[in-house]
Symmetry: C2
Subunit: 298 residues, 2 copies
């Protein structure tokens, strides 16, 4: 087993929206004639559609992609996509670049968003590790950091650090509705806490609703944390300690990853990658012989 060389000499794309295809072509990108043509010629196929459309695209490309080709996605939930992919014959590795803004559509595309971004590639039972390494090599070559984890681990982590913030942004926006004085007084803390509330509602709803198994318990835990904070409001020392603990967590984010480990590409690799991901490790390069991991400490 070794990482396949990525043989592609170019990238091309296709979109259901004709207007988007024209804008992409005008911007100098290579646009395929059809999804079928694209699927037939691609060694690696990035399916970049919202969760509700994934099943249709998978069905559309099934049987067209070569068995040796790799299909991946960029959706914000991984277990449902893995389950959909499992009903088809192609080689699938789940992916999720942790990069984006509240804007969407071709006009919102920005290569800078990917600079040093974390990009999850899932490893589950049955994942083709050679395909995983090929993708990890390609994605690290784009300047991203690849995070190995299972689909379940991914869904739980993003429920906490991404989907929950979207719920909070929405709830805080709604709290300020019909309060003109509050809207006048709102400043930086409100601005930042609610920024992602203007994301297209169907996208957030699909993301949060599609991950309700993980997000539900996370939201319940968060409610308990707020009830704890409510209890502390009249205890100045406990309240200050709570804010100090929170500040210490936030001050250490983003984590500094400096420690380098080279993992040999052998039978233990999947297990070692998953252990590294759980400990905050990230893949920064893939060679024919090893995987370069960066972690927070030795």
């Amino acid at each position: 087993m070794q990482a396949a060389n990525f043989r592609a000499t170019g990238a091309s794309g296709w979109d259901t929206n004709a207007h988007t295809r024209i804008r992409a072509a005008t911007a100098g990108l290579v646009v395929a004639e059809s999804l079928e043509e694209l699927a037939a010629v691609s060694e690696v196929l990035f399916v970049a559609v919202p969760m509700p459309d994934i099943g249709g695209v998978f069905a559309g490309i099934s049987g067209l992609v070569e068995p040796s080709s790799i299909v991946t996605d960029v959706t914000s939930v991984k277990q449902p996509v893995r389950d959909l992919a499992a009903t088809h014959e192609f080689t699938f590795v789940g992916g999720h670049p942790m990069a984006g803004t509240e804007a969407s559509g071709f006009a919102a595309s920005d290569a800078e968003l990917l600079a040093e971004a974390a990009w999850v590639l899932t490893i589950d039972e049955g994942t083709d590790l050679t395909a995983w390494l090929t993708l990890a090599g390609l994605i690290t070559s784009l300047g991203c950091r690849v995070i190995p984890c299972t689909s379940l681990e991914h869904d739980r982590a993003v429920a906490r650090v991404s989907h929950l913030p979207h719920i909070l942004a929405a709830a805080l926006s709604i709290a300020a509705a019909d309060d003109p004085l509050g809207m006048t007084l709102a400043a930086g803390s409100f601005r930042d806490a609610t920024r992602v509330a203007t994301t297209r509602p169907e996208l957030i709803a699909a993301m949060c609703g599609g991950n309700s198994d993980a997000l539900g318990p996370e939201l319940s835990d968060f409610v308990a944390r707020l009830q704890d904070a409510l209890f502390k409001l009249d205890q100045p020392d406990a309240l200050a300690s709570w804010f100090a603990a929170a500040g210490a967590v936030r001050a250490n984010w983003p984590p500094v990853v400096t420690h380098r480990t080279d993992l040999p590409i052998d039978d233990k690799l999947a297990e070692q990658l998953l252990a590294a991901g759980r400990a905050g490790g990230q893949v920064t390069a893939v060679t024919t012989e090893h995987v370069v991991l960066r972690g927070p400490s030795a």
Copy 2:
């Protein structure tokens, strides 16, 4: 009754911290010899200390300021400060500039923070409206928008749009503690939602704890909103509608204020200013004859 002309030909300041006084003097600011000296010569005295220190400063200046001089503050809660001021003889108007970052101290000072910032000046029973107009004239001349409201209205509004976001930032930071994978995957939505968690803990605790009467019910309401969101997680249409409603609120923030009304300075002014503040109005200039109000609509 008319707005007094602000007669000061200069501004000077004083700080308990000798290091801060030296830095301020080095930066070209005029630094008084002592708080007592400053209090004795000031026509308008801005008490810019955290809530727990307000009582001591009020006691320190009491009897030193001229009866015609105005004392104001910049604290994030207004009812407790008003109650402290009421125990002294000086003319007091509560203030709160809605501008700041998670940083504090002299090195964090930045005049740009005040550009077009909302600056609350409270109007309560017994507030000296001539003093209020003098301050409003001074503050609008700095480029700020003055928001008239009662101390109670202020405390309720900031509980919602400022103190609650600080609680959420802390709770979300704590939720991500001991989760290295989550910290690796956290991106823009986490970054912005938790930014203010690194504010000095004693400052946030004093702000939130000092406003527990208003913040407690607000936090309880927010918990109910999250429980409602939790209930909607498995109802795609209801969830999308909820996010759409939230997005519409946020997309209309900050409110556009274009409608101009000139309020004559007469006996109805206090009542009219408070009604305007409740409706999202803001004072942008004060003349000898009227107050220029800008509001969201006619």
